[in-house]
Symmetry: C2
Subunit: 227 residues, 2 copies
DNA sequence: TATCTTTATTGTATTATTTACACAAAGCTA
DNA sequence: TAGCTTTGTGTAAATAATACAATAAAGATA
């Protein structure tokens, strides 16, 4: 008789002002050291993996994401959870964090966005899961238009550019970047402008995901590379 | 108390003479219709996922692979196995099938290589798993040098070219393909030639995986694209 | 109101990469 | 030795990537 438990965990990324954030929770158990951890939990017998992670996210953080995909299943370390044999199917998710109301702290739980550069030691093997997710994000940014899922519906070109610079940790030539993105014909300008304090007003742009899906079916490949 | 079983399944690809094969098994159970299936089985409480799939492969098919990576975890269809709730962590593997002695058929089991174009309806959701693996193979071929794991240590350039044509289902310009591969400097010629019946003798080549790993660390990217 | 500061926007020349394309070389056979 | 078969090779044209700097728009300031 097999005795292995199945959990799901979610790495939810948010982006704001040149900083990439990850969503973490802290559950308080009497007498135990409280580690920050990825949201997640055990899968119920009658729910799909995807439903399980969606439910846990909602329960623990009140967050509903823009984009989610399976990341990797962690089950090679037999003692990744010191109590039982638990394998975790980890998910990778993106959200426009500016529009999200994360759950307020309760007596039992805390929830927060933490810059990925400031993530401390997490529970279980969650640092490894996070690291895997960061690599996935970096590589996905270059071959799928997932960056838009981290931004508001209408955004500035400079925001998009900074998002790429920040996450990929590279310098980008602004002219070439803009030329490249616009050549894909999946980002369109709106007639609105950002409210800013200083400098020339910046136009707001919008990602046309319908158009992207159409082009994708026709064989179009999104791809961003840098020198 | 959770009641979900954890299985592993392996999609093992082999290649020979312009044909991509997958390794399948058939287990005979009294009174049941016998479907072909991917090799795999339940994970033991004290073994890693990777160990489990390696063990099952050895036991069921006697095969040891050149390359293996986790593919995807199938657990969204609650009835993918009609008996119990089972999630399956699927693996993707490559092998030089010419050098492999697969297990001989027994009273209980059959094992065979089947061309992917001739795969019938399989057990459980194994057709879906296979399809996912084929897509992974196609995409990996273009950005990692995994094709070599399907070929003998020493191979003809025309074999490599045909492998790409066959799997990607595309035409390739021989000169440009050769130029591209050689430009990576990870394939070296040997001083040996193939024994052939007809035509100009063809030189044998070898993939230098150490060199590839070195270059990879320095930031080199393998990439093959076609018009 | 002229000037300064700040950020947004745009184009071109150079270089590198990708593509298209055809004929000679080597061995075998008749 | 003529013909068949498969291997092996180079160049020109087209396309894509890169490097690079001046102008536009608005508000702040003198």
């Amino acid at each position: 008789m097999q005795d292995i438990k199945v959990a799901v965990d979610a790495v939810v990324f948010g982006y704001q002002q040149n900083t990439l954030y990850v969503l973490l929770i802290q559950q308080k158990f009497a007498g135990q050291k409280a580690y920050w951890a990825l949201p997640g939990g055990l899968v119920k017998d009658d729910e799909s993996l995807m439903d399980a992670v969606t439910r846990e996210l909602k329960e623990e953080t009140n967050v509903e994401v823009n984009y989610m995909e399976q990341l990797y299943t962690f089950g090679d370390d037999l003692h990744r959870d010191s109590r039982d044999r638990v394998i975790s199917v980890a998910y990778f998710a993106l959200i426009d964090s500016s529009k999200t109301n994360i759950k307020a702290d309760t007596d039992a739980d805390k929830v927060q966005w933490l810059p990925i550069k400031e993530v401390p030691q997490l529970a279980f093997d969650h640092n490894l899961i996070l690291q895997t997710a960061i690599e996935r994000l970096k590589s996905k940014l270059t071959y799928q238009p997932v960056g838009f899922d981290l931004l508001p519906k209408e955004f500035l070109f400079s925001d998009l550019e900074n998002l790429y610079c920040t996450i990929l940790e590279k310098e980008i030539d602004r002219r070439n970047f803009r030329k490249k993105i616009l050549s894909f014909d999946i980002v369109e300008e709106t007639d609105r402008f950002a409210e800013k304090k200083t400098g020339r007003p910046a136009r707001l742009f919008r990602f046309n995901s319908k158009k992207y899906k159409t082009l994708e079916k026709e064989g179009f490949l999104f791809e961003i590379k840098f020198a």
